[in-house]
Symmetry: D2
Subunit: 117 residues, 4 copies
């Protein structure tokens, strides 16, 4: 099992699952808006973030060795997704809220990587 | 999108994600205990429940038509997993807590199915 | 384990995995085309099909009781996705090839359900 | 999209999906054997490998930037899983066949990483 304090691990799992849910809902919202909101780049950023959040949570829940490498990739995907959502012309409340969730998840994942022992 | 009230849908998604996490952690716990706790039947019940929880949450988040059919299957898997955890000789606190989570998730999924309009 | 002949089960698992891959690649292709190809309805049909293909394959691989209920849902999603791809104005070779794969997968899933004993 | 030749990418996706299927089936087989075959270490190695194979295939299908980082993690998980299967006392034909599939998948993933441009 991970050398992390249980509460830190639990917080990161919770953030990953919340971020997965946020990205999936935002993706449908953006497809509904259409145009550049539904571009390959934007939908892919949301999808990559969603998938890495789920995979990271999964590896943390199993106490798998590779969970820190996945948290590092997840933090990267969360950062890129937040950038995408914030930078988009016409970013609305749903997208900005998703960006905030991505930032919180990225921070939680980075804390997991930083506390590596 | 679903005809369900937003709060009911959100509650069901949250229960599904919490149940997924509970089943994954309990699976590792049971493999650690070994013997009949690590039997095919028990681990499969936990895995099936975990996978259907994630898939149901996913379809609810996308507002997909088939989310109610998946909630019905998920309620079934949750019920079976809870039965499995409770009936097992030597069921400990982790397993009983997982069974409780499965029951809560089954109820939330059944409410989604019952309110079908 | 399933009462199905091994070869029939294997064929269905293979079709599900091939259909998952086809839907994911076609989704990116359609987002690239933009316009109605990137509509919520179209992308959701591809996503639902992709997810149910993976989940059905997963339950078949584990020999889980609920694999036939999932194959039934998968056949439904495959049929809807094929209809969507074929009916779309401006459907190109990628979309028509995806529709063909969806039809093959739907048939394999229906055979699993039909041979229920 | 990836700078890889299409055929190399396709080969890696196919190996990942085949390895996912092999690990899931072998997991059920090992739980059925019980004892050290059903140990946390062994089942976790199979599960980690299965999940990373699916995630890597998924990122390759979407042409996502992080697919090479995931292929690197996948190759690692495949190698560990193959070692686990081969080293186990009482490894039978199913386990040895799974180890072979893991080796093939690890090689395909390593080729993806090596050809990075």
């Amino acid at each position: 099992m991970s050398p992390h304090a249980g509460s830190e691990l639990k917080e990161c799992i919770d953030q990953c699952l919340a971020c997965y849910a946020s990205c999936e809902a935002t993706m449908m919202h953006c497809l509904g808006l259409g145009g550049h909101h539904a571009s390959t780049t934007h939908i892919r950023a949301l999808t990559d973030c969603s998938k890495l959040c789920l995979t990271s949570a999964d590896f943390m829940l199993r106490g798998s060795e590779q969970h820190m490498a996945l948290c590092a990739l997840c933090a990267e995907a969360c950062g890129r997704c937040a950038d995408e959502c914030e930078a988009m012309e016409g970013a609305d409340a749903v997208m900005l809220k998703c960006a905030e969730q991505c930032r919180r998840c990225a921070e939680a994942c980075e804390r997991m990587v930083a506390t590596r022992v």
